[in-house]
Chain length 363, copies 4
Amino acid sequence: MAGNSFGKLFQVTTFGESHGVAMGVVIDGVPPGLTLDLEAVRRDLQRRRPGQSDIVSPRQEQDDFEILSGLLEGTTTGAPLTFIVRNKDARSGDYASMQNLYRPSHADFTYEAKYGLHDRRGGGRASARETVARVIAGAVAKQVLAPLQLEINAFVSQVGSIGMAKPYSDYNLPAAEMNAVRCPDPEMALAMIAAIEAARRVGDTLGGVITAVVKGMPAGLGEPVFDKLEADLAKAMMSLPATKGFEIGSGFQGVTMKGSEHNDKPIGIDNTADGTRIQTASNNSGGVQGGISNGADVYFRVAFKPVSTVMQSQQTIDVDGNPVAYSPEGRHDPCVLPRAVPIVEAMTAIVLADHWLRLKTLR
Amino acid sequence: MAGNSFGKLFQVTTFGESHGVAMGVVIDGVPPGLTLDLEAVRRDLQRRRPGQSDIVSPRQEQDDFEILSGLLEGTTTGAPLTFIVRNKDARSGDYASMQNLYRPSHADFTYEAKYGLHDRRGGGRASARETVARVIAGAVAKQVLAPLQLEINAFVSQVGSIGMAKPYSDYNLPAAEMNAVRCPDPEMALAMIAAIEAARRVGDTLGGVITAVVKGMPAGLGEPVFDKLEADLAKAMMSLPATKGFEIGSGFQGVTMKGSEHNDKPIGIDNTADGTRIQTASNNSGGVQGGISNGADVYFRVAFKPVSTVMQSQQTIDVDGNPVAYSPEGRHDPCVLPRAVPIVEAMTAIVLADHWLRLKTLR
Amino acid sequence: MAGNSFGKLFQVTTFGESHGVAMGVVIDGVPPGLTLDLEAVRRDLQRRRPGQSDIVSPRQEQDDFEILSGLLEGTTTGAPLTFIVRNKDARSGDYASMQNLYRPSHADFTYEAKYGLHDRRGGGRASARETVARVIAGAVAKQVLAPLQLEINAFVSQVGSIGMAKPYSDYNLPAAEMNAVRCPDPEMALAMIAAIEAARRVGDTLGGVITAVVKGMPAGLGEPVFDKLEADLAKAMMSLPATKGFEIGSGFQGVTMKGSEHNDKPIGIDNTADGTRIQTASNNSGGVQGGISNGADVYFRVAFKPVSTVMQSQQTIDVDGNPVAYSPEGRHDPCVLPRAVPIVEAMTAIVLADHWLRLKTLR
Amino acid sequence: MAGNSFGKLFQVTTFGESHGVAMGVVIDGVPPGLTLDLEAVRRDLQRRRPGQSDIVSPRQEQDDFEILSGLLEGTTTGAPLTFIVRNKDARSGDYASMQNLYRPSHADFTYEAKYGLHDRRGGGRASARETVARVIAGAVAKQVLAPLQLEINAFVSQVGSIGMAKPYSDYNLPAAEMNAVRCPDPEMALAMIAAIEAARRVGDTLGGVITAVVKGMPAGLGEPVFDKLEADLAKAMMSLPATKGFEIGSGFQGVTMKGSEHNDKPIGIDNTADGTRIQTASNNSGGVQGGISNGADVYFRVAFKPVSTVMQSQQTIDVDGNPVAYSPEGRHDPCVLPRAVPIVEAMTAIVLADHWLRLKTLR
């Protein structure tokens, strides 16, 4: 399986370059008979698109999709589902200035080293625009998962040094959608927005952390020993542009705890129509034991580095190794976090849909 | 591909349960004509085995392997290479006490929820004993990678709250092997060992962080967009028992930096016989851009939770949901970190070998 | 990997239904730096399309493709290559008559049994129209294989009971393209054409055999033990619509020979710049030994059943099990063989490209 | 996925060389909770082993297996199941004579061309001994399929030029086990045995055809468009040593029929507790339409070439290209067909188990 496909039973293949004709996705393994809610797909695309608020890139991309295959009168047929989104607002001219240099912390050099050539029109395949295909696939995955009645919520929990102090359970997570930065804490959101605007004013950029929480998990998702649920989630998140870290449950903080504190003591069993869950006094495990979900909330955090394209002059080298100054043109995000929230949700849903189909083979 | 296989071209399949007949591994995709250094395999197994020092489990497992296939007069043939290690010291009796309860933060419940039954003889497939197979595969992977002359070094950088303060470049990394805890800072190592012994005395356990560093990386390893090098490394690490987090390069700390600081400015190009590398003024990226290695050191950190088996009485429930007290017997590690160092190296080598073979298809 | 993908390193994923929006293909694993000859792609599509002669379906489909991704100024980049062909001439009305019945020897029932619903607009995913995507992928595969200077020639060797008597080596194989039925024996071609026309006049259909020959094979292609070259060729051919048999080398006839006759005695070794080939006194093996090519011609035969859509009234049942008479409308091929020739070549090239890339990992 | 694995959900990986330590198989994807009938595994191995009758190789191999993993008190756990069979009767000495030559129609040259070296001790990985691992996996697959109550019967339908004239429905297929050649027609069996003995007396060998029939098929097995049931069966059969052809249903004979004759007219629908089947007046399709089973018998034929090792002096070349005479030693089968019957059944069961698990993901 080549590198542009993800998943074993719910299999997503993306294609397209940022300044090529179109971005697209083939989704194979969608169960038949699902009446697809295309408005839901559009809503997630809308959450990802630039231009939706003052703190993201002002580019206006509509991201209207066309469905090429897999639907019959609005219903899935078991055939591969293909969506494309044409690249309307691609100003290649913006990128002329960088034709012969290596942008700092971009993939220009590595693509060239690997492939012998590189599509410099805005990052080509390395561009975050590729995630438009993932958001579509994620919106489909959410609908595949509908029978499980999961709640998948991602939100911005940190921007630069400004982070939420309280645990996620203290917040109404869907409220994150009510502000531009997608943080469920309204006051913290204001501080984050201010920080992003301050960074933008000086042509700089910020990173941050997105937290994702899945409530209503059934027990049994995840496949030992390599395709553990947290392993596939980690791969999914670390395959996103700009991500530098993943932690689940207690994560890096948990290493300072003693085993006697960290252990999640079982206190009861919850037998419901849709399966059995164990109840524990704490959830440092993040909802997984031995790579398999136990029914508690799955929650994890994803670190995003600050955007590499800063609107300042930076020192770099050209393709011959000579020092040059590089000042980008174009319209860029000072902070990618708000737009990455639906992308994190999408990859989460894709992983869960794949593992749910895999679980079915045991039933 | 089922959940017990890892890799696409260098493909590792592990089998065996902790208290079953044997642990084993089939490695498919090993290039032919490689004279295998079996002593090197034994050395890595020796580094992983219990009983090697005072701060790990006192169990005495020799872990002698038998090679069942793939070698002809000591040389690989292109056929799958199979190693097994028989389970000699499996005292099932130690586990009798836990037959009908769910151990806190163990996989007893989740295996039962998924498979309808669970091998309670010491964790079955969920046991860390499974990693003996990974260490063997990793030792083979290192030999496959020999032409690249990489240096792969993992070491313990944090135990509980005791962490190394200085960057890895300030240390002689192979010196980590000179103390029981495998930390390259000798003073810090003493503190870590003392902490582990203190925890053990009270029947408690500690977690920590392992850092891995790969020097001598060629540019070009990693496959956009899903099989990025860091994505596959993250999956590899998060598929290990007890891991809760992965970060590469600047990781979670990097999110507090500005883009202008975080960017790794190119300063030169290094053309050598074995390829081209870019030189950068910093390496916040951890040696990857766009999912592809750039030739700088690849370094990452892996969080391990404290060992779940604490030698204290803990409250839990039995399979009927009734509260019971659980006090484990047997011989367990108060801190798994020292023995996990060769395992992290092994999974690193497996990922790199797979991506090196994948790179060859482009040449 | 889901069922709409084929190949491990040269990976082809097709999508689209016969009466949907478009047919398409994503090709992942195409080596970078290949300047794609799009005219060659068009030529192969032209050979597959209906309306090209009097003995095939008179439908006029232009099959103009659009490239959505993977090309930069005409050159492959290592990114997935996506082609689509819109379905212009889809007359769904032609299929209204069959909405509630099961056409004899069609996939109506089986799709319904499997998926719970079926796209009856002309076969949906089961339609031979899907092969337009394979022909495109095959044309790309041929270009990937260009350095090997293979000659891949398929031709019609039998129509109904009219078959070529002489071995393929007695013919100029490319001359098959000079007549409508694609048989390299001009006299036999006339007889075949006459038979097809006779069948069409009475509303009936014919089957036949396509033979494929690959000259210039390097030794070493094919992967024991399951991905043998002949195993992958067999799968490729048997995944085509209407195929009922595959044989390589001496095939079913060879079973009547004695071992002493059948054995291909080696007579010399041919060392050339592009590798070593063995020379044998005969080639009953069809160019493979132990699943690996030996450098001799790879040749095989594929049986196609007569087209299921006959222009006669046939007895069948409706979805409730009641007997009904079925008379198809629309425009159909009386014999699919001539148009299947480029499809067989395409699948051959796809298999060979995949195995060539796999061989590279050993070098 | 490397070449020594087969199947997507029921995944079989074989390892071992004919004159190495052991043959073995890892089976991943076996559903948990299956109490394995090990006697049934032994019975199938017994049917495959040499020395079971006068017309096969007189080697005495007991093929006792050891189970290394995956069973807990006789029951599958969802963990990979591993069996090994040690190679007891491996007389490497027998093969000393062929160390430096290329045996006619063997894989000596091709392995050397591909891998740069070759295990000449009896064929290494190319030896038919590898099929011992497949028979074990097939015996497990049959038990996985038990709920479907299929009847899988393979039998020898042709040896050399002696073939059964009547359709399979005229015979009691399990009766094939009552004679040494495994042909359900007792008179024909005598003729076949006589032919094999005659060939053996002159040191020659015979090929033949094995027919397989699966009764009780549910509708719905098979995955368009590449993983069609017949495509996966074809690959499975063509991955066996010595196979040169595969045909399903009417096969190569069917190409001489008219479409109006060949079509299988539906005559009724059979609704049962375990699904719906269509009833047709004929079964030229061999139980598949559009790559998916329709509930009719799946039947197919597999061509085996005559055994390459003839007990006569043959002309060949040594590794330097010089002509030499080659006379094999050792104990070989004059006709491999009788022993190949359980192997064909095993591969059939493996394909069906894989597709049954895949079907479950749609339910």
